[in-house]
Symmetry: C2
Subunit: 346 residues, 2 copies
């Protein structure tokens, strides 16, 4: 094992294949030169892809396998591929200490199930959560979790998610106390479910945590940028995330239709192209790529299945930052603060 930190890359996951995963890792390495890589997948394809990236090749080792987890594999099927597949081997490298983090663009459910079984949840965390970055009107993204790992959550889960999300946001932006809110259907104290109310009470009563808890947030405010971390159960989080994605696509579809409805507007569109490119850039999921499974004994980052080279590079950079700044330790420190108290739910 090397002394510099190493990131395992599931080179076979994702729609775009080995070439994009390898190119993404190479691009990320420009920012994080001390990092080494373990490229997991078909040796022939990986070697061919490395031809164009001598810089990455010098810092990489290849772990050969041809078995892959497909997009159709159910979590239970994927678990049977833990020992042989590129995804499973990348996760196992984290487990054995051969790598400090793993990045995969494969099947989310499979990755979640395998990572949970192999790495287990860290002390003090009952359930891991899936966190992602959403764009805002400001220069920083908002961290949102959980996004689907846990359909139903109690107050204790939500408090732990808040601690994990705050640690992630602190590492991304060096905030001292990120502004944290719980997603709810109103901002008054009596709104929502018992779990939400109890979690809010507990977070309000815990000023020692590394966050500024600011109560509830409604879903129409998520993208405004006046909050750094939005905490929710996996069902609501998935509904909110997909609603936002769908509505953004809906508006841009309408826009495209509007702009192609007449010769005059087509001309206008061409003239204002730089402006619409800016919009496209801001909404491009590749610029916010890198969902993270928080709460495990190890760093696991999920890249979008259809991510571009830049998208993969962003996911790898997220993994590198989480390793450099030791997310697990940061979460553990906050958990110590709250372990003295009990999160009680009726």
């Amino acid at each position: 094992m090397t002394t510099s930190p190493r990131i395992a890359i599931d080179a076979m996951g994702g729609d775009e294949g080995v070439r994009v995963m390898v190119a993404g890792a190479a691009l990320a390495r420009h920012r994080h030169e001390s990092f080494k890589f373990l490229l997991v997948g078909d040796e022939v394809q990986i070697k061919a892809a490395l031809e164009n990236h001598p810089n990455l090749r010098a810092a990489s080792e290849i772990l050969h396998t041809t078995e892959v987890v497909t997009g159709d594999d159910k979590p239970s099927q994927a678990l049977r591929k833990s020992r042989g597949s590129s995804m499973g081997l990348a996760i196992n490298a984290v487990k054995s200490g051969d790598a400090a983090a793993a990045v995969s663009a494969g099947n989310t459910g499979a990755l979640m199930a395998m990572a949970k079984v192999a790495l287990r949840t860290m002390p003090g965390i009952d359930r891991p959560a899936l966190a992602a970055l959403l764009p805002t009107l400001t220069d920083t993204d908002v961290v949102m979790l959980d996004l689907g790992a846990n359909t139903e959550c109690d107050a204790r889960n939500l408090v732990q998610f808040a601690v994990m999300g705050a640690a992630y946001s602190r590492i991304l932006y060096n905030w001292e106390k990120p502004r944290v809110r719980l997603l709810n259907i109103g901002t008054e104290e009596m709104k929502g479910t018992d779990s939400l109310r109890f979690a809010a009470q507990h977070l309000r009563d815990s000023p020692e945590l590394h966050m500024a808890f600011q109560g509830f947030i409604e879903a129409d405010k998520i993208n405004r940028g006046d909050c750094d971390v939005v905490v929710c159960d996996g069902f609501s989080g998935n509904i909110a995330l997909k609603s936002i994605e769908g509505a953004a696509r809906f508006v841009t579809d309408l826009l495209r239709r509007a702009f192609t409805s007449s010769i005059r507007s087509k001309f206008g569109f061409l003239v204002s192209r730089p402006a619409t490119e800016l919009l496209k850039h801001h909404l491009d999921p590749n610029n916010h790529n890198g969902a993270v499974f928080l709460g495990l004994n190890g760093v696991i980052v999920k890249s979008h299945g259809s991510a571009s080279i830049e998208g993969v590079a962003n996911a790898v950079k997220v993994a590198a930052r989480l390793v450099e700044d030791d997310i697990t330790k940061r979460i553990a420190q906050d958990l110590e603060q709250i372990s003295a108290k009990e999160v009680i739910e009726e």
Copy 2:
């Protein structure tokens, strides 16, 4: 009491006041000439507003009161104003048979609480639901319910919401069997909560209902227009609706910023103005105005607080259509079909 149907208008509710409510009713009456109106609120203001609408004045009666439910009134406070406020009197007119429907642009929580207490749920319905219309890429809107009346729902509630939403969609667009889906975090049968799975099972097993049940829908597909009715609990529905509103505003904010970022793009924007006006028209909530409380013994329509004259007119038209086509009877017919079976949840 008159023989032609009458709609009670809470003339004092909403941010825009009596003038807009009266002008909206007058505009709606052009489409529904047989309807009469009961205008509830301050007689002096209503009479002044009617000066400009002789056509409406001839078809209206005024019920005078100066007491109003404010936006800050909690439901419990509003209930104490049931007998005296413009909102309360409009609802009571429906209860007594003095009007067939009531339209208010006031406080949603108050309207819901008052309507529930005064009108009670119709036979076979356990809980009323709030349904709204959302724009799609097609020419028709999608009906979505519940949007916040019920934080937690069981399978039985969801099945009843499906029946009510389908009846609403049939009346709006004359569908024979509107396409109905349950909002979930995946489309596979095992996804989501027990309530969702049991509700789906029951709807699948009930081909006699006036709907084409098509399983689950994910939140990113709501606005696509390949589904006519989206059914969910009030918590998820509120999260989805507000996420969509927030994301649409986010994208248009980014767009405005992009278009004003350079002289070149400002020029392009001016040239393509008709196209962006089309977009604005499509996203304008006034064109989809008129949320409905379904499942009560009477028709109650909620207009947006900040609706324009056209917006209020759309809400009044919705009320008129629901009265003309007897929504309550349609729901009752479908309920008879399912009353023979039991919706069982473990």
